[in-house]
């Protein structure tokens, strides 16, 4: 896994020899650099697998335009990410055990970031059979980014859903009504600080009859039996 922004991938000692896919994705990044220049904040490229690009918030719509012009005409999805670790845990911890110190550090995934919220979208080039994930930070004080509906008509519903679930606004969106929730609903369900009420009221019922897990390094009897029967 090499970060293009850090060093040229060829210096990476344990990297596999370049396969055709690498050139393709690097070419896409170069092409994108030509189109939107320094709006690209970070690039994460896994050779022959996938490509992530993070752009500046103010260049969010411009990126969509550029990518569409570059051949990424298929709109996959658009959604939000909340990087705040959940203050409530997973609700299936052993209730008798000493509570662990909750993790409060915000880590923004593969392309980094500075804010709690990010928007991300997936576009596909149907001719070259390659996809790209684009991300952008959403300002903490005013969580609004530009809309993509002017570029991809399909972004309409995705932005509505994202607005409803994360409270991220989309400037210029024609109709940011709720899709699922009643209009007077308070809160944004997919935010990490929105509690899952059923878990608050009653812990995960499965916790009651969980047997202790077998020790990791004991001989794997199941596995051996399976291999025997298969051969």
């Amino acid at each position: 896994m090499a970060r293009l922004s850090d060093a040229p991938p060829s210096t990476d000692a344990d990297e596999t020899p370049a396969l055709p896919g690498d050139g393709l994705r690097e070419g896409i990044v170069d092409d994108l650099r030509n189109r939107i220049g320094d709006a690209i904040v970070d690039v994460h490229l896994v050779p022959n697998d996938d490509l992530w690009v993070r752009v500046r918030t103010d260049a969010w719509r411009q990126t969509a335009d550029a990518l569409k012009a570059a051949g990424f005409t298929f709109f996959g999805f658009l959604s939000g990410l909340d990087w705040l670790p959940s203050p409530y845990g997973k609700g299936e911890e052993d209730p008798t055990a000493e509570p662990e110190e909750p993790d409060t550090e915000i880590r923004q995934g593969v392309t980094g970031g500075d804010t709690r919220f990010q928007v991300f979208a997936r576009l596909v080039d149907l001719d070259r059979h390659v996809g790209i994930t684009v991300k952008a930070d959403v300002p903490d004080d005013e969580p609004v980014v530009e809309t993509w509906t002017t570029v991809f008509a399909g972004a309409n519903w995705h932005e509505r859903e994202c607005h409803e679930m994360f409270g991220i606004g989309f400037a210029g969106h024609p109709d940011l009504r709720n899709m699922y929730l009643p209009g007077d609903f308070e809160g944004y369900p997919l935010r990490k600080d929105f509690p899952l009420l059923s878990r608050m009221i009653k812990p995960w019922p499965g916790i009651v009859d969980v047997e202790p897990m077998p020790v990791q390094d004991e001989p794997d009897a199941d596995q051996a039996a399976q291999e025997e029967s298969a051969s």
């Binding site: 298929f74 996959g76 999805f77 670790p85 997973k90 059979h129 519903w157 679930m165 699922y180 990791q216």
Partner: protein, 390 residues
């Protein structure tokens, strides 16, 4: 509005003119037609609100959310193996196919791969769920237009496939059979022969449906030239699966990406249709069912020996990272964007379901059509409610 077909353009102008006329000249009121949430034509609880001028739709808006179960939130309080139980219930007619991309995403993050035998069996079950899903669509298609016979045929022949899925996995509708690193169990004895026989029946079913429906004059006159979606618009809205291929776009995720699955071991064809109308969408699905039969038949001959489960730890912790995996599900592109923070469960899962995008085009596609066409266009777009709302 570029690349709009002439008919769409005309009907758009007509709808604009209709609005103006109705407001100013005749002082008539437009009628609001509410289809659903319990209308049989909507496959469940999708509600469609249409504003009509006479027989023509001037504005339409689907109201969804009657079945929103919040799976994206629920995945955050589950462990990785538990998530398959949830995602089974997204597209409930092709459940096994829902599990596969999620498991592949988790495997990608863990940098493991299922053994070859598991890969082939996965692919077979994946295609069987496609057959089960699409054969119901083909039967249901007739009902939407008042032809009742095909649905009985479909329910009868789909049962053979469901029996196979039940035989292998133990669940007719919700197999929950895919595991990180392989499969829960091996195939039962005699399953391969039974599958061959069932596939022969399904091939016959396709022929019968083609004769009964696709050759039918009423069917053709209600489907051909109705609900045309040009390729540009389809890509803009992210239409996928047969809906996209019916608009002439040659793209299939089974063929056009590298996945640890066995589709490349079989010889099959991706069908497209240049018309982009309702008929094309149904026709492409019919051909795909045949291709699925072909894939299953070929793969049954080449199931390799070996384990069905690779070595995975008892307690599965997925390393920190992000992965996107999507596959060509019966309804279209189904993908999961999985973010892991190195815990027992995912940090965030974005579920990209096909029907959500496929239905978001409805306001565009229904503009200017006549009332009876609403039903055929919706039927040909083919959605599953659980797949829209998630």
């Amino acid at each position: 509005m570029t690349m709009m077909s002439e008919r769409q353009q005309l009907s758009y102008i007509a709808s604009q003119a209709a609005d103006a006329r109705l407001n100013v000249e005749l002082e008539t009121e437009g009628m609001t037609l509410n289809i659903g949430p319990q209308h049989p034509a909507t496959h469940g609880t999708l509600r469609i609100i249409c504003r009509l001028d006479g027989e023509q739709v001037v504005w339409a808006e689907p109201g969804c959310g009657y079945m929103h179960r919040g799976y994206e939130k629920l995945t955050e309080v589950r462990t990785f193996p538990q998530v398959t139980t949830l995602v089974n219930r997204i597209d409930w007619l092709g459940s096994f196919a829902n599990e596969v991309p999620f498991i592949l995403a988790a495997e990608k993050l863990m940098e493991i791969e299922a053994p070859p035998r598991a890969q082939v069996i996965r692919t077979i079950l994946f295609e069987l769920s496609r057959i089960a899903n699409v054969s119901l669509f083909l039967g249901d298609l007739g009902v939407q237009m008042g032809a009742v016979t095909p649905v009985f045929l479909a329910f009868r022949d789909r049962e053979y496939v469901l029996n196979l899925i039940e035989g292998a996995t133990g669940g007719r509708f919700h197999p929950n059979f895919d595991r990180i690193g392989g499969l829960k169990d091996d195939l039962p004895k005699g399953w391969i022969d039974e599958t061959r026989q069932a596939i022969a029946k399904l091939r016959e079913f396709c022929d019968i449906i083609e004769d009964l429906l696709f050759g039918n004059e009423i069917f053709q006159s209600r489907m051909r030239g109705i609900g045309i979606i040009p390729a540009d618009i389809a890509k803009d809205y992210g239409l996928s699966g047969a809906n996209l291929r019916a608009s002439g776009v040659d793209f299939d995720l089974r063929r056009d990406q590298v996945l640890p699955m066995a589709w490349d071991k079989a010889d099959w064809k991706v069908w497209t249709h240049p018309d982009g109308d309702s008929f094309a969408r149904c026709w492409v699905r019919l051909q795909e069912t045949r291709e699925s039969c072909k894939i299953v038949d070929q793969l049954l001959d080449q199931i390799p020996a070996g384990p069905i489960m690779t070595k995975v730890p008892r307690i599965i912790k997925v390393p920190e990272g992000e992965a996107w995996v999507s596959t060509e599900n019966p309804l279209g592109e189904m993908g999961y964007y999985v973010v892991s923070k190195g815990d027992l469960g995912p940090f965030r899962v974005k579920i990209r379901s096909a029907s959500f995008n496929n239905i978001s085009i409805v306001p565009w596609a229904l503009k200017g059509v006549y009332v009876p066409d609403i039903i055929t266009i919706l039927a040909s777009l083919y959605f599953i409610l659980g797949d829209i709302d998630r």
